[in-house]
Amino acid sequence: MDVKTRIALVSLLTLSVTAAMGIYLKNAWPLEAGEIACMGIATMIVLAGLAGLAGMWNSMKTGQPLKDEMTTKITYKAGYYSWIATIYIALAVGWVIDDIPGMAPRHGSTAVLLLSALTFFIVLGVLRIRGDFE
């Protein structure tokens, strides 16, 4: 997949997530505590998507490859740690979900999805800044 197609797809995804958030906000206003937390995390994921988009744009302009040996290693490492974190997040969410106001049992997988995506972006960011890929 070339950079332009990738940029178009990520832009489309970011726009659709933002639109979905807007529609949800309009319909569900005023929000409860659990919903505010979910929207906050979703916003951070959109921001991470925009940061990724900026990176792709920069790569297209400078002609540098999007992926190389180091970025692949860093992504794998971030994915591995995020998976371990996801297991603990799922356990923790199952433990506390009944005590959070506004959260129904069926919202468990949404909470896991948002929190694990957030974890992945944080771990990826930290590893990239540290340049830690071994």
């Binding site: 799922a90 356990l91 049992p105 468990g108 997988s109």
Partner: protein, 141 residues
């Protein structure tokens, strides 16, 4: 010494999981939902797979080979990444199932424990599956 400890730890964890599963099956006899049996089956698959891995690592250790090296670490990261991606897509599937499918087809939504159990167990099985796939690929090259 460190490798011995890792093997002992692996055996202990597997033993505890087996004990937990047996106690769960004995305790839930009669009042068990069919979904709990499916989850128990997934735990059993994981248990068998990881027992095989621990036995294999133990044999390698007896031959004098290290339990963990550069290649196995690299493979573990790759396996973990695929397990992570699968956990994300399983969560997305569960959101669709609990929201869209249950509302339209009238099926029973999964509760938090069941949903999260599915995320953990299925991604664990994918991690295990990737171990055998990637190990096979490395072996063939």
């Amino acid at each position: 010494m460190k490798d011995n400890f890792k093997i002992m730890l692996g055996v202990s964890v597997l033993g505890l999981v087996l004990l937990g599963l047996v106690l769960f099956l004995i305790g839930g006899r009669g009042g068990m939902k069919s979904f709990m049996l499916v989850e128990s089956g997934l735990v059993l698959i994981l248990l068998m797979g990881f027992t095989y891995v621990v036995v294999e690592k133990s044999r390698e250790h007896k031959k004098g080979l290290p339990i963990e090296d550069e290649l196995s670490k690299k493979l573990a990261y790759q396996m973990g990444t695929y397990a992570y991606y699968s956990a994300i897509w399983i969560s997305v599937g569960l959101i669709w199932y609990n929201g869209f499918i249950c509302d339209n087809l009238g099926t029973t939504p999964l509760d938090a424990g069941e949903s999260l159990g599915v995320v953990i167990l299925l991604s664990g099985i994918i991690y295990l599956g990737m171990y055998f796939i990637l190990r096979g690929r490395v072996g063939s090259t």
